[in-house]
């Protein structure tokens, strides 16, 4: 079974400052990793994903994340945040194989990190 720990429940930063949102996972199998963003009263939007290949993944809105297998981490970074980045960010993991039954592997989410960007 997989699990995800998001180490910070809240991260306040000033506009134009860099930010790192931390995510650690636990799994006995190879995994896919995802970051989703949720703006107030909305659903989840995919920011970026790691499936295989390069460990540095670039996503939308200037975000990037680095997969570190030895530290079982997938931290999200942005070099300069904007007010509009204020939202909740969720790290998620799924097993990187599909059973013969079809469909997709379920996502296991962390509890989320609320990013607040202040002027």
């Amino acid at each position: 079974a997989q699990s995800v720990t998001q180490l910070d429940s809240q991260v306040p930063v000033f506009e134009e400052a860099p930010v790192e949102l931390r995510c650690n996972y636990s799994s006995s199998v190879s995994v896919y990793l995802f970051w989703y963003v949720q703006y107030p009263n909305q659903g989840l939007q995919l920011l970026l994903k790691y499936l295989s290949g390069s460990t540095l993944v670039k996503g939308i809105n200037g975000f990037e994340a680095e997969f570190n297998k030895s530290q079982t981490s997938f931290h999200l970074r942005k070099p300069s945040v904007h007010i509009s980045d204020t939202a909740e960010y969720f790290c998620a993991v799924s097993a990187s194989f599909l059973g013969t039954q079809g469909g997709s592997e379920k996502l296991v989410f962390g509890k989320g990190t609320k990013l607040t960007v202040n002027p």
Partner: protein, 116 residues
Amino acid sequence: DAGVTQSPTHLIKTRGQQVTLRCSPKSGHDTVSWYQQALGQGPQFIFQYYEEEERQRGNFPDRFSGHQFPNYSSELNVNALLLGDSALYLCASSLYPAGQGAETQYFGPGTRLLVL
């Protein structure tokens, strides 16, 4: 490109009632997953439908049931509602098989259910 749509957006029910939530997957997708997001928590997997069958199920009681139609849309039914069922219910879609996006799920805006 039509994304994932859900209806209704909000719903208020009383304890003991039954509710049906609806989801239309992203155009071209054939797999629908349902998640429950309680206030202040991350989404939790309820179940997944592919080829009109429940393929995976999370740790939710039998009061939670679902259906997938031939056009890939899906319903989530919850019977005998409890106060603790109040949450945002999210639908996600993907495309099987592997290599064609099955590893990535795209979410709808959710249905917010309040049980009084």
